[in-house]
């Protein structure tokens, strides 16, 4: 696959790799995808006063899946959780100039953000 330079940059120097403590109440964890499909994204946020102060990810998948999750972490770091939820897969796909066949990688990244936020809310009994 011929990728844009931005994908290659994120792939070669991914941002925010790692893990946060899943048991910490301030941490929300989202894991999306499946080994059968060849992509699994794990994205974690640490929230303080409604603001995402730290983000980490690990991704099993193709180059664009790794790049999409790396970029997603950059996008939401420092944002309020409700703002983070507004990040769309389109924002990711356009920034990285993903080829059409790889658009699902950006969708997955969007879902991973949503799943992490939801997990945080569930842990802290936040409704809405």
């Amino acid at each position: 696959m011929q990728y844009s330079e931005k994908v290659i940059e994120h792939f070669e120097n991914p941002k925010n790799i790692g893990e946060l403590d899943e048991n910490d109440p301030r941490v929300g964890t989202g894991m999306i995808g499946s080994p059968a499909c060849g992509d699994v994204m794990k994205l974690q946020i640490q929230v303080e006063d409604g603001i995402i102060v730290d983000v980490k990810f690990k991704t099993y998948g193709c180059g664009s899946a790794i790049a999409s999750s790396s970029y997603a972490t950059e996008l939401i770091k420092g944002k309020a959780i409700e703002e983070a939820l507004k990040v769309s897969n389109k924002d990711i796909a356009e920034e990285l100039d993903l080829p059409p066949i790889k658009l699902h990688c950006s969708v997955l990244a969007g879902q991973a953000i949503a799943a992490a936020v939801q997990n945080y809310k569930e842990k802290n009994n936040i409704t809405a």
Binding site: M31, P35, A36, K58, Y60, G61, C62, G63, A65, I66
Partner: protein, 407 residues
């Protein structure tokens, strides 16, 4: 000695034309060369060209212990497979409508078989063994009274697994079933004796053997007294089996390439087998690694390896200075996992991380060493990014997890 980058480890996809071959080909193009139509019987230009074609036919035949008149030139192994399979099916459909092939054949065999299915033929696609070969007893069990054709490959292009063609040939012969073999990957790598193998039809490709692309051949055993329905109609070149002006330069190229292959086969195959083994020795202790196919009984030029818990396309991107191919879904146009790996029952988290390394005439020890080192480094790097790797390390069984966001 230093290594020139990028390194080409995709010789099973295609090979560069050998300079000795290119030189002979160039001599068949321009006004100074032999440019006549080999089918022109009325003048010297045609005779000269026909002489070159005759020589090439002999060169191809000699690699496989055939006679020149048993060789039909086609545009490639794809066309040879189509001519063999459709040509037999259409000719002998009144004798029976059952065809046996396998799930791990090249698309150039699977697709003609599927086409025949649509035309009312009954096709059995045999399941391979875990090493990619076809078991003789399974083949035998699939044979029916109305079976007219068996088509099985010699060497599998993804795995390098080698079928026992002599045994299949003997069985087919005893059952009076026509036997076709796709030998695109074995020519020049394994010794081939069409007489000892009992094959009726065998397909070859020029560009896998340091010849040009766009040329191939079909061996048609004279003793089998076969008739085939041509798939290309026209001026009745190639004894009517394949119409179209003979492409002198391509044919000459394939002939020269096959002559060189014969000359160098024993030595070169031993050298490749040694490179392949030494490459595997340098990477085999990587955790969660698996050789797909067989180390001992595989073709000397193909090594298919799965790196668990990382994905093939990302491996290819990380190994950007090494040209290889993958069976991973993400790198195919259809986002489907390789049907060959699926057929041998590879687990998802292994199959997605499969890489085919294939070596050839210009592969050096230095390239092998360089690549092995780079692979160790990049696999570790990608695993540090992989949540599945962490789970594997923690002893989590991936089968027990309910995955979200399947697509």
């Amino acid at each position: 000695m230093s290594v020139e980058l990028p390194i080409y480890f995709d010789y099973a996809a295609t090979t560069p034309v050998d300079e000795r071959v290119a030189k002979k080909m160039c001599n068949c193009l321009t006004r100074e060369g032999i440019y006549g139509n080999p089918g022109s019987h009325t003048h010297r230009f045609g005779w000269w060209a026909a002489e070159l074609v005759d020589k090439a036919r002999k060169q191809v035949a000699e690699l496989i212990n055939a006679e020149p008149k048993e060789i039909i030139f086609t545009s490639g192994a794809t066309e040879a497979n189509n001519l063999a399979i459709k040509g037999v099916a259409l000719k002998y459909k009144n004798k029976g409508r059952h065809i046996i092939t396998s799930k791990v054949e090249h698309k150039a065999v699977i697709e003609p078989c599927k086409y025949l299915q649509e035309q009312g033929f009954d096709v059995t696609f045999l399941d391979p063994e875990p090493d990619g070969t076809i078991a003789l007893d399974k083949l035998e069990a699939a044979i029916r009274d109305d079976t007219i054709l068996i088509s099985l490959m010699h060497v599998n292009n993804e795995l390098g697994s080698i079928n026992d063609i002599a045994a299949f040939g003997k069985l087919a012969h005893e059952c009076k079933i026509i036997f076709h073999v796709d030998a695109a990957q074995s020519a020049g790598k394994l010794p081939i004796d069409v007489r000892a193998l009992h094959v009726d039809l065998m397909s070859f490709s020029g560009h896998k053997v340091y010849g040009p692309k766009g040329i191939g051949a079909l061996f048609i055993n004279k003793d089998s007294k076969l008739n085939l329905v041509p798939q290309m109609h026209g001026g009745r070149q190639e004894r009517g089996f394949r119409s179209g002006t003979m492409a002198t330069h391509q044919i000459v190229g394939m002939g020269e390439a096959f002559a060189i292959a014969k000359e160098e086969l024993a030595k070169e195959s031993a050298r490749l087998a040694e490179l392949r083994r030494s490459f595997w020795d340098k990477i085999k202790d990587i955790d969660a690694i698996k050789l797909n196919g067989s180390l001992e009984h595989g073709a000397p030029h193909i090594l298919n390896v799965s790196f668990g818990f990382i994905e093939g396309e990302s491996i290819i991107m990380a190994l950007k200075d090494i040209a290889v191919s993958t069976g991973s879904a993400c790198s195919s146009d259809t986002l489907e996992l390789s049907y060959v790996l699926t057929a041998i029952g590879a687990q998802n988290e292994m199959a997605h991380g499969s890489i085919r390394f294939s070596f050839g005439r210009y592969t050096t020890v230095e390239e092998i060493d360089y690549a092995a080192k780079l692979i160790r480094e990049k696999v570790a790097q990608l695993r540090s990014l992989s949540p599945l790797w962490d789970m594997y390390k923690q002893g989590v069984d991936l089968e027990t997890i309910s995955w979200k966001g399947d697509h």
